[in-house]
Symmetry: C2
Subunit: 299 residues, 2 copies
């Protein structure tokens, strides 16, 4: 089978103190990436990249950020067109009064919106109070683009084998997860626990790559962000963005600092590998009914 | 939470040339394991451990092996009782004329049958012609024992996130996979490809441990087994049996030779970890309908 190679860059960056400065910073990194990799096809940004990670506390004033959704889309559209790349952004969307979403927006090389995917699984634990801000998305659907069928999901979605599988069953070519994951910025968790968390985060997504025989691209934020409420010492986003090939092979792994994380992906590799590892052939769909239950109670 | 520790041993061994010699070999290894770990609770054997891996070719004479199912059960029952351990065996079962299963049988410490689980997903690729021999099992159900609720599955089942999830939703405490996986015994696949296969095998199951926040115990055969048809140079079973803790932490990893692979598992660890990584809380069951489809065709 002929190769179908795409050049992918993740722009792993920190929040720059305000929204417009951060968007300009993104633009600068994209320019660098394009200089380094002239034939760049696909660029992935971290979750909620233009903003501080505002979910560290519950404050209704943060909903005002979503008013910028049209301008943020326009900025990203311009970036995609200027550099001729497919761009995966992650923005704060207001759908109607009282309904806000954590929304990945994908732009075509000509700046057109190729599609959006709203975050489906919404987390809520200390310092990640996302259930206050985000209404869950409606459904899972890959986004057709000039580089392939993109199975875009958002952060917490990455822990769910169901989400990855549903994208694969809809013929996504690749899974893409903009993320914002960090450690608590204090000693309440040991270095060993923190390492285990990061390795679990990578490991579960490597599992999706293997089980679905398809590549995975995951971006993450970096840097320390303080807790505006002052109740905690904030979050340290740990970067470590990564790209896996079609059977869990590590193609790129970022540091904890700002960085362009690059790999060349062959989207035909999945096809070949699925012929000898035909997991999709043998699924027992008639025995999977329990997957649609919350818990299977004892009878 | 108080710990609920269980001592687990995998008896990673090779086929000994005939069925009874192999069962005696298993008995000898269990005796050794019991001498080394006096408080042993749970013992896991490789897939189809009393027999040659007979699926390298399609030969109806091999169905005769299933006539030994009652005697093989009796042998294993005796082993469990003699050493006071819960024992996970993997046998060839005849359910009726023309219906044969690849069946994990679990014995209680007193030798009673705690339950069985038939292999649900049946592979079929060159040198693994299992669809000729095995009718798929009916359903997924954990087996209640004195050491916990065991989510036992068999080999090819280990590549399916659906199977692991359904066991977890039925409150399994641990996933257990008797396996028979090996490399082709020739140079048609490079050393690099072979390594990638083994790492994918471990990685997908590590993914189940993380996504379901529960331990995984996987046994494998070792040794070269020739192809009785003479058409190929046979299979080299690669051992590498492993035990992961409740969040993908590697607790034990076997070599490629015969070996007792041991770990002490804390079954309470899942409970604690699930409080801070509450994946089960946030599943989007109303959006998972596509999991019950073979392929989601374009509309």
């Amino acid at each position: 089978m002929p190769a179908r190679r795409i050049h992918v860059a993740i722009l792993q960056h920190a929040y720059q103190g305000d929204r417009l400065a951060t968007l300009r910073h993104t633009a600068g990194m994209l320019e660098q990436a394009k200089q380094k990799y002239a034939s760049l096809d696909l660029v992935v940004l971290p979750e909620l990249h233009p903003y501080a990670y505002f979910c560290q506390h519950e404050d209704p004033s943060h909903f005002a950020l979503a008013q910028n959704y049209p301008q943020d889309m326009e900025f990203c559209s311009h970036l995609a067109k200027e550099h001729g790349v497919v761009l995966v952004s992650s923005l704060f969307e207001k759908r109607m009064e009282g309904v806000f979403s954590n929304t990945a927006v994908v732009f075509e090389r000509n700046g057109a919106v190729a599609g959006i995917q709203r975050k489906m699984h919404i987390p809520d634990d200390p310092r990640f109070y996302e259930k206050f801000y985000f209404t869950p998305g409606d459904n899972f659907a890959p986004i057709a683009t000039s580089v392939g069928n993109l199975g875009v999901l958002v952060c917490w979605d990455q822990w769910y084998p169901e989400a990855a599988r549903i994208m694969a069953l809809q013929k996504a070519d690749v899974l893409i997860y903009p993320s914002a994951i960090g450690w608590v910025n204090d000693s309440s968790e040991s270095a060993q626990e923190k390492a285990l968390q990061r390795e679990a985060w990578r490991g579960v997504q490597r599992g999706h790559s293997i089980a679905n025989v398809m590549p995975v691209i995951t971006s993450n934020r970096v840097g320390l962000e303080l807790d505006p409420s002052g109740h905690t010492r904030g979050l340290l986003f740990f970067g470590s963005s990564f790209i896996y090939g079609a059977f869990g092979k590590e193609l790129a792994l970022g540091t904890q600092g700002e960085e362009i994380v690059y790999a060349c992906l062959d989207l035909e590799e999945s096809k070949e590998t699925r012929l000898m590892w035909p997991f999709f052939r043998d699924r027992r769909i008639e025995a999977y009914g329990a997957l649609l239950k919350r818990v299977v109670e004892e009878s």
